[in-house]
Symmetry: C2
Subunit: 339 residues, 2 copies
């Protein structure tokens, strides 16, 4: 186990990085690790097939014989491939040899590795994926569960709210984050039975971790209406991917218009200067990935098409979260409840 | 009742338009009715307070003493306000005095008026709201249920698929529309219990109305991946509003960039020429509103902020749907099933 009595020692622990995960593995992953170490002094330990990884400029490698593919069945592959880069990364955290894990590989298998090897934080019913959604303010909205659990009870959603609030404070410095429930209307009477029950539980909770602001709607997700928005993993996945799809639609449309002829290309260059901050904000490579909250260790899930830049972002976020003692804060905030 | 044995007679029936519904009622509503009649020859009958409506340039008015407000409780207000413009519009359709109804008012009350006064098409478990989502192709994706029913059984979703397909053909000419279920992954094993059961029922159905193409994800909604996408009204509302919110985010961002200085304003003018077709496609005023499918009469729901242009669009769509014998096709396609 990590020695939590000595935070200084933990800060020296490397971050376990799955070198074989993602569409651009291992080359971009290794490149990201090297940059994070050389430019930001973040210690990294790579897991993966040493022969495929090649030169790591001194970054240590845990040689693993197996790889979990992007399309492998998550639960089954984690059970079968005990010497896979993903499972071994989770084991490094469990064994106190790494402070956090990062993977751009199979999302389901990353969750399963973390859950099976690290276990849950005591009292947590189910872990959830928290995704930062960029919006018109300076602070992204933490959105969870964005895909880990298709079915969620009201008590699970309340725990997601608490974990999301602790995460929002650790990651973005929101003091008493505004937490909302995603629903089909703002009134407490709107929503599924679980949403309505969650509303009741949250209103009664008087949590020291957050300010409950009631329900928000899908249109509020990119307006910064809340610091944290909770929902079940089915609705969360659909909503997040709807936003991704519309982003693609608008960028395709804009790029098509700009590409039309020389005058539109010149106009595009003029506008890009003004659009750059927003484009930067929306670029998945800058976001640093999603966070699996509720497992007993820090686990970052980077997107499958991660470049070395995305890996650097994820390693920096993981490093910041380790330093913020996120896990200790979650442990302290969670009061055991029934499922 | 409408005489369905004589379609020619039906075509002469006016469309009942709720003059009091929407943020810009009654002035923009009446203006829309006048334009639809004078420019397109679409006969209209207005319902509402004659004193508030004023001059209609000869368009008949059914004088009603009551108005259902945008925030009134839907079911209660429809039961209580029997002489409201909304309830009377639905009664005109029920009584064969109008071929369709259109309202930009309280959506829930519009649904309740249509359902209570017209009833359901025989065999239909529950009506659903079908919303056209603009995408990168020429044909919008018909998305239902976008908010009528928070909880939906698999059999309801199958009926939505059939109604959506009939609507897609009537409205956009899709011959054998591609129908998909919205889920958190493309595999048939993905989704809630109801989604998975719907997938099984749809795969077994071999409907003559549509081609079942399996599950689609949120990111496919604006890519034209399917002609019809079915989901429950909770997920549908969240997803649709997420798209609306991101549309607002991108337009705000783009307008902010263009407004920055004289050179960006000039660049904006150059690009707008290329962006115009997409902006037109996304403009709610051009879409003609959502359609309540499954009630025993054509009912169009225009958005609350409808201008006269939006009302003209809605009246034109309603007129086209009357001519296409949409309701007859739905009746023929629905086979009664258990809820």
């Amino acid at each position: 186990m990590v020695d939590t009595t000595n935070p200084e020692a933990n800060r020296q622990l490397p971050i376990a990085l799955d070198a074989m995960g993602g569409d651009n593995a291992p080359s971009e992953i290794v490149k990201g690790a090297v940059t994070a170490y050389e430019q930001y002094g973040i210690p990294v330990i790579l897991t993966g097939r040493a022969d495929a990884i090649g030169d790591t400029r001194g970054i240590p490698v845990v040689d693993c014989s197996e790889v979990i593919g992007m399309d492998d069945d998550p639960g089954g592959s984690v059970r079968r491939k005990k010497d896979s880069s993903l499972v071994r990364a989770a084991e490094l955290v469990r064994d106190g040899a790494a402070s956090a894990m990062v993977s751009a590989g199979n999302t389901g298998a990353t969750m399963a590795s973390a859950l099976f090897r690290m276990g849950r934080v005591k009292g947590i019913l189910r872990p959830a994926i928290a995704t930062p959604i960029p919006n018109s303010t300076d602070t992204p909205t933490v959105f969870l569960d964005s895909g880990a659990n298709v079915d969620c009870s009201a008590n699970m959603l309340v725990q997601f709210a608490i974990m999301g609030a602790v995460f929002s404070r650790a990651r973005y410095g929101a003091n008493k984050p505004r937490v909302a429930i995603l629903s089909n209307g703002e009134e407490p009477t709107k929503g599924t039975a679980d949403v309505k029950e969650t509303h009741k539980l949250m209103a009664d909770l008087e949590s020291p971790e957050f300010t409950f602001i009631g329900n928000v709607e899908g249109r509020d997700l990119m307006q910064g209406a809340a610091d944290v928005v909770v929902t079940d993993g089915f609705t969360g996945n659909v909503a997040l991917k709807a936003l991704e799809g519309s982003l693609k639609f608008f960028i395709d449309t804009l790029m098509g218009a700009i590409g039309h002829d020389e005058s539109t290309q010149a106009a595009g260059r003029v506008l890009f200067e003004q659009l750059a901050p927003t484009i930067d904000k929306l670029d998945p490579d800058n976001v640093g990935g999603a966070m699996l909250l509720g497992v007993d260790g820090i686990c970052l899930i980077s997107h499958g098409s991660s470049s070395s830049k995305a890996i650097v972002s994820a390693l920096r976020v993981a490093n910041d979260l380790v330093k913020s003692d996120l896990q200790e804060h979650i442990r302290a905030a969670i009061r055991p409840v029934d499922g």
